[in-house]
């Protein structure tokens, strides 16, 4: 353990630690996603807030401490034939990190994998949170039920706020049944234009596609999941739709499917490679133009709307993307680069004012991961 680490094991201890903090705190769950501007200060290790407190398979609901290892939650769900539908990605290989991804880290970063196109993002499955704000006050929002419009939705605000508005302590999530069967159509599409056309055609069909990605050199991937007969039927329909334009191979082995989609979710082609990794969110139909401007290696997910790009170290592609819409985030780079190039996309002035206003009110002393998001 490095110097200047505060370990807490209860929500009360955490609140006390935040109240007592004399300076900035770096909030750490499993320590697997070192993203954003490097943050100064003592490490606040919240992995001790661990454990599943409620799991009702019949209500599709699970509640657990923010420090609970994601693997523990996934194992509990699997034992009941359920899963987190948004397919949280493991970035350890990509980022070269060790440790154990936690539920809190996943929510703080709003980590959502390929199934986001069909099942929504992490924030869409998030039912409730408890957290400690920058004044050391314990707060809750939302709860454990699937429909809740009581008061403002701070639950979503906490998702993807990277610990800058509060430290998560407990998380309630909606879960879904795991499917009986899976199949992936692997289409011999070459280049972003063909890939996006194939993926858009698949996602525009009524066949409930749960993954739509492109690995250059390997092909465009279209996944269907569900009961066996239904998967076979829909895979056949999609083959009929797409095969006339792109040669199709269908992968039905469940282990090989799992490995394939983990490659996409974990951005495996860029793991261990030199260079910075950028993540862009754009309209799928803009993607071919954007990847041309990026002029680097890329892979696509979310029907082409998510671009992962491998670019030379220290290079900020945003100036040459002006006017293309969407936004770009620097996910992997050296600390020096992340200090020099703003990792999170700059916001329009009125939105930047809102973001700054939120930080000022939820963390008036500016001690929670200060500056991480810009």
């Amino acid at each position: 353990m490095e110097a200047g680490t505060v370990r807490i094991s209860t929500e009360d201890e955490l609140a006390q630690a935040v109240r007592d903090a004399a300076g900035p705190l770096r909030i750490r769950g499993g320590g697997t996603r070192d993203v954003g501007r490097p943050v100064p200060g003592a490490v606040l290790d919240v992995s001790g807030l661990s454990g599943i407190t409620l799991y009702e398979p019949g209500a599709l609901t699970i509640v657990a401490g923010a420090g609970t290892p994601l693997a523990e939650v996934e194992a509990a769900l699997a034992s009941e034939g359920q899963r987190l539908a948004f397919e949280p990605a493991d970035w350890r290989a990509l980022l070269g990190s060790e440790g154990t991804p936690t539920l809190g880290g996943m929510v703080a970063a709003n980590i959502s994998g390929p199934r986001r196109v069909q099942a929504g993002a992490c924030r869409d499955a998030l039912l409730g949170v408890r957290f400690v704000d920058g004044t050391g006050t314990v707060l809750k929002n939302g709860g454990r039920v699937m429909k809740n419009v009581t008061g403002y939705d701070l639950v979503k605000l906490m998702a993807g706020s990277w610990g800058t508005l509060g430290v998560l302590t407990e998380i309630g999530l909606k879960v879904l049944p795991a499917p009986e069967s899976v199949a992936t159509l692997i289409l011999a599409a070459e280049g972003a234009t063909a890939a996006v056309a194939a993926l858009s055609a698949a996602l525009g069909s009524p066949h409930d596609v749960t993954g739509a990605a492109f690995l250059p050199g390997e092909g465009a991937l279209v996944r269907v999941e569900g009961f066996a007969a239904s998967v076979q039927y829909r895979a056949g329909k999609l083959e009929g739709l797409l095969a006339p334009r792109w040669p199709v191979r269908i992968e039905t082995d469940s282990d090989r499917n799992a490995a394939l989609w983990q490659r996409v979710a974990g951005v495996a082609p860029f793991a261990g490679r030199a260079g910075d990794v950028w993540r862009l969110s754009v309209r799928p139909s803009d993607t071919p133009a954007v990847v041309a401007l990026l002029a680097g290696e890329y892979i696509l997910d979310w029907g082409g709307g998510l671009i992962w790009a491998l670019l030379p170290e220290g290079e900020d592609p945003r100036p040459r993307l002006t006017g293309t819409g969407g936004h770009a985030t620097l996910i992997r780079a050296s600390a020096a680069t992340r200090a020099a190039v703003s990792p999170f996309p700059p916001e329009a002035p009125p939105l930047a004012a809102i973001s700054a206003g939120l930080r000022a009110r939820f963390d008036p002393r500016g001690i929670l991961n200060p500056g991480l998001m810009g």
Binding site: E56, P57, G58, A59, L60, E80, G81, N110, V117, G120, A121, R123, D124, D133, T137, V138, L139, K140, N141, G143, V145, M146, K147, N148, V149, T150, G151, Y152, D153, L154, K156, L157, A159, P177, S200, G204, P206, G226, F227, A229, S230, Y233, S281, V282, R283, P284, S285, G303, G305, L306, G326, F344, E347, P350, L351, I354, S355, L358, F362, M373
Partner: protein, 477 residues
């Protein structure tokens, strides 16, 4: 239900304020004749009425910005209004407020099938969003029962749901972007045709904020390809408990129906008398709808039949034709109309964990007897969103108050078992004073900080959502 006393200095300046608004919005966009403003004195929570100071009906985002700038400068509260179908009083004005109605802004601005979204002006009705893309095989998923009339603006303000959200989610899960005007007139764009808006999830915060953070004038909505087909079944049971257990078993079995609707005996009887849908005489019935190709539907319904069979249903009715399918939905879809025939009613909207269903229905039955008011239950069972309908007689002195007390008790019960006050209708004025049942003072304070950031003068729909005592200091400025 209290509303803050109107600011007499605003009432005194009415002519001046209206003149400024007219200057900014020429034509017939500003209404101040008391005979005409009365049309805006209430929404669908019609027990509460109050004509506004004036009504502005802009046609563009720029006009919305003009109205807000003037009201901001004059310190006049603004109550945004979509179609006025709120069941919670979300669009109820105060005498010193300007109603800002977006109903004239109803155009489709862009349809993009490749990227699967539609961009519309926020006054467009929910159903006409689907209508714009239906011929091409797409639809907009959230389907509140008022969808023929309700506007996307209100759907966003209340984060509206519907019968099919078990599979497709509610408004917040289908909203990709907004153009929003802040109280000071600043126009902001959040999100768009891409999937992640970026930065803090402001879209998530705005959705369901009941018109208190800004006025949404345009929305980018996710559209989905229509499934090949859909078919409902009706399952009748001898007790609520058994029907509840069947719902849990269906969900656990890995079937994800698009809808699981639940009706109890009082509701079944009323609907049957009203719509003659041919529902069986039973304690509880479920309508379960699944989607897909014919073969996929058969497979899912086969599994549901098997599960239901273990609970010894009184009847399991499949629909062999479009006609029969319609008939299964007929009673459910006329539930509110049926209740309206019998009596005045108040529709509650609490959500509970599905596992608490039998307990909650039993306790509601007991409370109904204690209060001497009938309660019929119809709700979205798959996601635990209940809609108890309390029947009362508005002409009988004291009945409305009794009904409101019973409603409050039922909602407290929902919170007690781990649920919440409102699943899809919103807090408005209706549940405002119950917020403290669900949230601590600190929790409400945290929510109000959001409004402090977006609307520091607390002029947008200020007397809603938070108990008046809790928001008093902020509203006083």
């Amino acid at each position: 239900m209290d509303l803050p006393a109107p600011d007499t200095s605003i009432l005194a300046r009415k002519a001046e304020i209206v003149a400024r608004l007219r200057q900014a919005l020429p034509g017939e966009a500003i209404i101040d004749d008391p005979a005409e403003t009365r049309a805006y004195e209430c929404d669908a929570l019609s027990a509460y009425r109050c004509p506004p100071l004036a009504v502005a009906l802009p046609r563009t985002t720029a006009e919305v910005s003009e109205v807000l700038k003037i009201c901001h400068a004059e310190g006049v509260p603004v109550v945004p209004r979509g179609a006025g179908t709120s069941l919670a009083g979300g669009a109820l004005p105060t005498a010193d407020s300007v109603i800002l109605g977006v109903a004239r802004m109803n155009r489709v601005l862009e349809i993009d099938y490749d990227d699967r979204f539609i961009r519309v002006e926020a006054g467009r009705t929910n159903l006409s969003v689907t209508a714009a893309v239906e011929a091409d095989g797409f639809f907009y998923a959230p389907d509140p029962s008022s969808q023929l009339a309700c506007a996307i603006a209100g759907n966003i303000a209340m984060n509206s749901g519907g019968a099919h959200c078990l599979k497709y989610g509610v408004t917040t899960n289908n909203l990709l972007g907004v153009t929003m005007v802040m109280m000071d007139g600043t126009v902001v764009e959040i999100g768009g045709g891409h999937m992640d808006a970026g930065g803090y999830d402001l879209l998530g915060a705005i959705c369901g904020s009941e018109g208190q953070l800004g006025v949404v004038t345009e929305a980018v909505l996710r559209i989905l390809p229509k499934p090949e087909g859909a078919r409902p079944v009706l399952i009748a049971f001898d007790s609520n408990e058994v029907a509840g257990a069947c719902v849990a078993d269906i969900i656990k079995a890995g079937v994800l129906p698009v809808a699981i609707e639940f009706m109890d005996r009082p509701c079944i009887r009323a609907c049957e008398d009203f719509a003659h849908a041919g529902y069986p005489d039973c304690e509880a019935l479920l309508i379960v709808e699944v989607e897909g190709s014919e073969a996929e539907i058969d497979e899912q319904l086969g599994l549901i039949r098997q599960i239901a069979g273990r609970h010894d249903p009184r009847e399991f009715r499949e629909s062999g034709s479009e006609e029969e399918a319609k008939k299964i939905w007929l009673g459910r879809k006329s539930a509110f109309g049926a209740m309206g025939q019998i009596n005045d009613y108040m529709c509650l909207d609490g959500t509970i964990p599905v596992s608490s269903l039998p307990l909650v229905l039993k306790r509601i039955g007991e409370m109904s007897r204690d209060f001497g008011l009938d309660v019929a239950n119809v709700f979205h069972a798959g996601d635990g969103n209940m809609h108890p309908l309390i029947l009362f007689d508005a002409n009988k002195p004291g009945d409305l108050e009794k009904c409101e007390s019973l409603g409050a008790e039922i909602l407290k019960l929902c919170v007690e078992v781990g649920g919440c006050l409102t699943g899809e209708h919103g807090v408005g004025i209706e549940k405002r004073d119950l917020m403290a049942v669900q949230y601590s003072g600190a929790d409400m304070e945290a929510q109000m900080r959001l409004k402090d950031v977006f609307d520091p003068k607390w002029l947008l729909n200020p007397a809603k959502v938070f108990p008046l005592g809790v928001s008093a200091e902020r509203r006083a400025g």
